[in-house]
Amino acid sequence: MIPTLQNILYVEDDADIRQVTVMTLELVGCLSVKACASGAEAVAPDNDFRPDLLLLDVMMPEMDGPTTLAHLRRDQRFSAVPAMFFTATVRPEEVSRLQELGAIGVIGKPFDPQTLVEELRRKWDAHHGG
């Protein structure tokens, strides 16, 4: 049985893209989203959100997506939570690199807000054998 995808911890430094993504996930996907503007915010001790999925932008200043994931993996709160990345570089070698870091999905940027939820759920279901 495929586990329910309901709560997403989302990390994106661009405020406008963060806003669009949150709107899309909440309005279209009826998902609950905790949006963080940086990796540091995501790993902060006062982050008490319990996500089903980590959704991370790759290219961010100071702490990029892969580094953010490494920090989250060292934290008991997030160590086993599946992760997906957003990246503007969807070349096969980049996708492989992110998958080797443990990503269950890689979503290309810019993404289409109208189809984002469908793509996200498809990758979630595929990871869980759906």
Partner: protein, 98 residues
Amino acid sequence: MAADVLQARLREMGERFLASLGEELAALRALTSDAPDAANAIVHRIAGRAGTFGFPAISIQASRLESLIIDGQFGAPAFEPALAELEALASAAREAVQ
């Protein structure tokens, strides 16, 4: 209904993006060739937002500029026509929504 609300918000944000694009491009023009990281941050931001808000041509051209910068071409002769093309696309997009 949710899709209609999302569409309306995307349209508003797209208009704001276009309105601010001139300033972003002016900031890019003002950078000297020893600031490729700052230039890359600007074009990366433009590429992401343009694609998300429905301006694929602007997004693609900004991505081309990003590739040029990554290849060390910021400030080189190849960069200027590519930037001019991006500026032209931005102008055309602004005129189209007015």
